[in-house]
Amino acid sequence: MRRRVLALAQIAPTLGDLAQNFAVHQEKIAESRAAGADLVIFPELSLTGYQLQDLAPEVAMRRTDPRLAALAKLTSGGPSAVVSFVESTDDHRLFAAAALLEGGEVRHVARKCYLPTYGLFDERRFLAAGDAIRATRAALGGSVAGDVGIGIGVCEDFWHPTLPAILAQDGAELLINVAAGPARGASVDADQGLGSAASWGTLLRATAALTTSYVAFTNRVGVDESLIFWGGSRVIGPDGVVIAEAPLFEEALLLAEIDLDEVARARSALPLLRDERLELTRREYDRIIATRAGLEEV
């Protein structure tokens, strides 16, 4: 059995206050260790807050930043951690990034590929979009290095279903979404009384079922300016059933045990990933891309 305990840190980061947010991360990592967790997952931009605007370059960090390295040191005795920050690069671009910290080091960084810039969102104005979708392997508290395939997406990334699909094809058994999802659409007609909770709930269950993977979704709470983040972090099994769920609007450390051998059983019963036609998908996308560019007859 490949059992692991996940801890979803549903925190309320303080906008722009790096020192305060680093302190909260240290506390939650210690709390997760005491609770026996193998992996603690923080929400999107957990170290900086979300609605940064012109603060983004001021709070940005290299992935080699000593403060991030110091936080990674805390994972040498477990648990591993996924934390999120504004990453700056040699060519001075800024990304919304999520880093996997394990064994005392920064092991992997996923950059947000889909930056919502519509309605209440304005991310593309301040940030660059990531250009790579890569799964990675991690021990996550186990004795075998790289025992578990994981794929990390940042919030909006999962609203583009090709992204979790590619992560699953690339080897992920556990799909992690770190989110800063603002509440909107309060109505008794929506599940849990909230349109955003209802639509995310549908999306996450569908993502788990269609990729036959575990999905761990950590959404933040608290307030940045007008936005009230709704929480509702949850873990979903490869059959699309919710295993554990945190409350709305309150800070929480949600613990959930998963058994990664369930992924193998789910994929035997329902071999969707095996039967995926990657070459067919690529051929059709190539055709559509060429047609849109005027390179091919319609």
Partner: protein, 287 residues
């Protein structure tokens, strides 16, 4: 409007009041914390909007950190004051009674000789004197002024710019009047305040609905269609809403866009407030 089955019409504006209350409490707590204020200062009129914000604030940060200010004029209804006092007694918060009649009379007396003042101008003066009083009380109490305008009145422009529309933050500005009523019932706002006719209390017997020629439930359903659902007016009218009314509401929204925005600053330099100098309201000091 009901459908032909005789069932009650579907209430598309119905909210889960406990969940929305949790959102509002979280919003208030966060903004009070980020401003570093010790207290929240609130103008309490005796009407439902400021009553609701008083109950939400007390639930969020405690009634001991809430100061309500009653600011009547000579023409304010005595029942408004009684209703405001009922809230103070129920919540057990600090309250201050500061009549604005003398400064209002002084402003009017100071006008050029022979100039008469319309009720609208007088109402705007009163709203801005209340704003002046509230901001001064907030300075005294190391407090922060919380806004009490609801979504219905904000959208139709039924507010005084830099008067009652002025605040540090507003927890109920995205709730329609009918939702304000639902949330108020849930939070135990006294029934007489929920059920009385909404009024700006500018003169005896004035009501919003009498003066504006609308009822809030219908207004809210029209606003919801135009604003939230982005429906063309013809589609709203096709649902059975009165054409003149729908067109009038649309006009009220159009004419009041300026009230919902900060004034534009002429862009002259390289980086300008409001255009390309964009920071959160409260900036932590970075190392």
């Amino acid at each position: 409007m009901s459908d032909d089955t005789g069932r009650a019409p579907h209430d598309e504006l119905a909210i889960d009041p406990e969940m929305v209350a949790a959102m509002c409490r979280s919003f208030i707590t966060s903004h009070v914390t980020s401003t570093g204020a010790e207290r929240v200062v609130l103008g309490l009129s005796g009407g439902i909007d400021s009553a609701l914000v008083a109950y939400l604030t007390a639930a969020a940060i405690g009634a001991d950190r809430l100061t309500v200010v009653l600011m009547p004029t000579a023409s304010s209804s005595p029942s408004s004051k009684a209703d405001a006092e009922a809230i103070v007694s129920d919540l057990g918060c600090q309250s201050e009674l500061i009549s604005i009649e003398a400064p209002l009379a002084a402003l009017i007396a100071n006008l050029p000789a022979g100039e008469s003042v319309t009720p609208v101008r007088r109402g705007n003066m009163a709203a801005r004197l209340r704003m002046t009083t509230l901001y001064d009380r907030s300075a005294l109490h190391r407090g922060v002024v919380v806004g009490t305008g609801n979504k219905s009145e904000i959208l139709i422009g039924y507010s005084t710019i830099f008067g009652d529309a002025a605040s540090a933050f507003n927890p109920i500005g995205d709730l329609y009047k009918t939702q304000v009523r639902e949330l108020s019932r849930h939070l135990g706002v006294p029934t007489q305040i929920i059920e009385k006719a909404p009024s700006a209390d500018l003169w005896p017997g004035q009501t919003d609905e009498g003066e504006g020629g609308f009822d809030y439930p219908t207004l809210d359903r029209v606003l919801y269609r135009i604003v939230d659902r982005r429906l063309p007016l013809e589609d709203v009218i096709a649902e059975g809403f009165d054409r003149d009314f729908v067109e009038r509401v649309s006009e009220m929204i159009r004419r009041s866009e300026f009230k919902r925005q900060m004034p534009p600053i002429a862009k002259v330099g390289g980086r300008s407030s409001g255009s390309d100098y964009l920071y959160p309201r409260r900036r932590p000091k970075l190392d």
